[in-house]
Symmetry: C2
Subunit: 201 residues, 2 copies
């Protein structure tokens, strides 16, 4: 819908709309992080954002769609990554992917929403479906598309499994010494493993 | 406490006690699987087992301790594994560990409680602590103790991360093609990766 059409229907002009949309998204991120997917409601998000629940539905649709938008925002700092991966040399892809994942997890701004995504995806089927679409389709499929090996998608997923599992044990379960290890040492050990999954024998 | 002492205190003799204990454990496994750690109560477990809550406390102590016992039972088919690992040749340890993990996950009897453990560990700190003690200390530390490399524990944890992450994506998040891939193909690809973590350069 055009901005003019939106205004005719009594909604705020774009700049104000963008502010409202961002406020709803920030509230959604907070709610999903604090309560998990199942206990979060559109009504609760609306209340936290100080808007009518109808406005949440208007901008995003269902709770699942709000969650997806919140996940997208959480991964926004990484939005350019798949392109970099797709364009960079293939023999550095293991290190780039590993640095990307730990960069996002080590950043306090993105860590909280990521924790919320993982927790929700593990306990709720709808959130798991969002995780599959966002992380696997948007990142791993694009990596797999560049590989000239049989089983490219399976290989990309086993590479993702190494990274997802390490993030789980380090940031979620907090297993020692992994949880306190220097991130550079982890990258140093994992980059060749991820590279091997993607381009090795 | 000896059986005689237990009887003096008015508790049932061992055979009957074992039956009650097993019934409580089975109920605990069901409850933790169905509701997750947080929503499960000692009262609910007692009700499902058809016993007084005091009996649950008597046999196991706190909810955390019931959970730990339920996890122990879930991993019981694997109880001999750490010994096998500790005794077998070091150059086959990657494959043995990988086969062990997927053997437990592919077995329908052990898969349900494992799912419950993972879901609980990801969403609850107490359950995460149990996961750390059981999985990491009892299995990975014993593997690490056999390795003659610096950073043995970190290496063992990164190996565990590959296996835990693959189990997450295959059984919990159900990412394709990984979720439907033949388990032998997964073992074939992961065994050398796990071996490399443990004994590689």
């Amino acid at each position: 819908m055009t901005e003019a059409a939106a205004r005719r229907r009594g909604r705020p002009p774009r700049t104000e709309a963008a502010g409202t949309r961002d406020r709803i998204l920030a509230a959604a991120r907070e709610e999903f992080s604090a309560r998990g997917y199942e206990k979060t409601s559109v009504r609760g998000i609306a209340k936290a954002a100080g808007v009518d629940p109808a406005l949440v539905h208007h901008y995003f649709g269902t709770k699942e769609q709000v969650f997806e938008a919140a996940v997208e925002i959480a991964l926004a700092p990484a939005a350019g990554m798949p392109d970099t991966l797709a364009e960079g040399p293939l023999d550095g892809v293991g290190e780039r992917l590993t640095r990307f994942v730990f960069g996002v997890w080590e950043n306090p701004v993105t860590r909280a929403p990521l924790l919320a995504i993982v927790r929700s995806a593990v306990t709720n089927d709808t959130a798991a479906a969002v995780f599959r679409r966002m992380v696997v389709s948007q990142i791993m499929r694009r990596v797999a598309a560049r590989l000239e090996v049989p089983d490219a998608e399976l290989r990309a997923e086993l590479a993702a499994a190494q990274l997802v599992g390490t993030a789980m044990l380090r940031y979620v379960i907090q297993v020692e010494p992994l949880a306190s290890a220097d991130v550079e040492r982890i990258v140093e050990r994992l980059a060749p493993v991820v590279q091997g999954h993607l381009t090795g024998p």
